[in-house]
Symmetry: C2
Subunit: 402 residues, 2 copies
């Protein structure tokens, strides 16, 4: 232990401002008494700090509803969700979503476009996003401030510079999408993350994995990726490439995967596998699979059950390898899971007894929005790290929409 | 940030004593000048602290061999490997090993007994260990001190109380082996760990994974387990059960595993799978497989190549899932890997390009001793945490062999 330099009073203050704002961002409205208890700061400090956040327009205080621990009414503090927002963008294979998401994680407004596969060249996606973001910003209240932007992409991302290294399902290789989009929208900086990593982050902060230290979120449409949190920390790997659970070999007699290997998990449980098994053409969209299944179509039933079977096999692998508390079925896997939940749970009986007893299988609490909300969390990170610094440094004006 | 209580001078001193001793334990002999550079403590502090360690009999100082940074000779400090030791024990399916391992990780002396499968009831193992440990201690120098004991077991272990929860290959369920062995040997406390977890720890501290933040060590004889380090931290899972990579399903058309599932990785690459594939009876021992292979026996060649094929498949899964820097092939898998390295490396070509480029496949630098050395590290932990505290508290005499 080299005795660390003591933090300055100013550093402590800024850090505590961030802690308070993060609490309010995750919990929503909270009484000052609760904030005092949660932070273990003293009452006068909490009052002074929330006062600063009020002045900065990040939170508001309202009349007390209940009573504090001491029997006195306690002021309620709420994030300024309508006035402080980020732009969150989710680039998938078949749709692109852009949303205004307010402090507190509230989806305020959204635009979405379907795209045909193969129609997702970066310039086309950028164009669509420019239109959608323009609409979102025009519709925003005049006094609302944009404090950041974040993007979820279904591919391997270098988060340091916002480059999408490899996104086979949209056909991107080494696309500097973050900088390109920032340039296109006139923003200073756009954070980019992998969809599965963002999905697990969002479900861990405010969803089905909120109480879990060890959680797996499955993402993807055509492909299947895994966002994995272990001991409260994201699984990253040596170079940031970890979590490619879609490329576990589950069926050596199975189909050739686009990665070149045979029988990868995603060839069985990804959308394309289901299209092939059901005989429904991908152009029809996955809704067609769901409709045919609902109508009791024989091929649809068989194809979906096949996917459910292999979903169970991979889930058991993950339970044995990771001993997670929860596996959340996001992306297109969400549909397969909801249709074959019983089958997957039966498969779970073949997992080792000890980890089996500790795992829950769950749909995403945020539905189809886990990755979108995760992109918003990425965008909020800088504000939550240093609430007033972000607003007063020169980048604040740069970061505003031109 | 609740400003942390400043550490007292005494706490800082004890912490720094631990840091110095740990450095010497891992690096072996080191000059005081190097210790100064590595710890960033000042020279007089290092001199004073090593003086304390010398006085406690934990390290010795010797005449300088080279010259320090300032051009002056620098005293060399070395761990007292002969005088300060732990008992390390490795309970496998087919053999039990006990060793005296000195500070610095030096195997000073060892005893080993082969055991026939099914002949590993706890009382029998305890009896064998009592004999072996007795011999080891009789042969130790009279001034040598035992500072702890650690055990590696091929099973799921509750490290808090030293209970082996589930070790199917030796047939143990809920055996409080740590307390039983401590009682049998007259020791106060014996730390117990899972073989794969200890193997990866040892290879990470002083072996093939020494430079890796993300490493996987495969252990096992009959079964196959994974000790996994991610971002420098061991993978534990929600309840301590993570790492059961031997129970990934790789071959759905394969054999029924003793876990009840079909086609688990260990049914193909574990010893029993190889015995079945080669037609050699388990009673003959794995050496017989190696001998038949070396002799060019057709069934042995085919059986070992089959295991190599499946070894490669599982390795690719692990590379895609974890993006590790190194996979170390320990336990019985060590033999399969050394015979089929080319086959495994060919399989690796089917891993995703990015993680593939970052992984090394390696034999264990500690050979068959990774788990044994890991057990020693477990035993040294308390001494390294607080070098003088351990020696001066009442438990020191209790911890000595009666």
């Amino acid at each position: 232990m080299i005795t660390p330099r003591a933090a300055t009073q100013e550093e402590v203050r800024r850090h505590n401002l961030g802690r308070l704002l993060r609490l309010l961002h995750i919990r929503g409205g909270t009484s000052r008494a609760e904030l005092t208890a949660l932070t273990r700061l003293n009452r006068s400090t909490v009052r002074a700090l929330t006062g600063e956040l009020v002045e900065a327009g990040l939170v508001r205080e309202s009349a007390p509803v209940g009573r504090g621990a001491a029997g006195r009414p306690s002021i309620r503090v709420e994030p300024e969700s309508e006035r402080v927002f980020v732009l969150a963008i989710d680039v998938g294979v078949e749709r692109v979503v852009a949303a205004r998401i307010g402090l507190g994680g509230v989806v305020l407004d959204r635009r979405s476009t379907q795209q045909v596969r193969g129609d997702s060249d970066p310039p086309q996606v950028l164009h669509r996003l420019k239109v959608m973001v323009g609409e979102l910003l025009s519709a925003a209240p005049v006094d609302a401030r944009c404090v950041g932007a974040g993007v979820s992409v279904c591919g391997v991302v270098d988060s340091r510079d916002g480059t999408v290294r490899f996104a086979p399902n949209v056909g991107w290789v080494d696309v500097p999408f973050g900088p390109m989009l920032a340039d296109h929208l006139g923003l200073a900086l756009i954070a980019v993350g992998n969809d599965a990593d963002l999905g697990v982050m969002a479900e861990h902060l405010r969803g089905a994995a909120a109480d879990a230290s060890d959680a797996i979120y499955l993402s993807g449409e055509v492909g299947v990726g895994g966002g994995i949190i272990l001991g409260g920390q994201p699984l990253v790997g040596a170079g940031g490439y970890a979590g490619e659970v879609g490329h576990m070999s589950v069926n050596p007699e199975g189909r050739i995967c686009r990665c070149g290997r045979r029988g990868c998990w995603e060839t069985e449980v990804g959308e394309d596998g289901v299209f092939r098994s059901t005989g429904i053409p991908p152009e029809a969209g996955f809704e067609q699979v769901l409709a045919a299944y609902a109508a009791g179509d024989g091929a649809a039933l068989a194809g979906v059950h096949r996917a459910g079977h292999w979903l169970g096999v991979g889930v058991v692998d993950l339970v044995n390898i990771f001993n997670p508390q929860v596996i959340v079925f996001g992306g297109a896997v969400r549909h397969i899971f909801s249709l074959t939940e019983q089958l997957v749970k039966e498969a779970l009986a073949t997992a080792l007894a000890a980890p089996r007893a500790q795992v829950r299988l769950a749909p995403p609490a945020l539905g189809a929005d886990s990755t979108l909300v995760g992109a918003a969390e990425l965008a909020f990170a800088r504000l939550l790290e240093d609430p007033l610094g972000t607003l007063t440094t020169p980048t604040r004006t740069e970061a505003a929409i031109v």
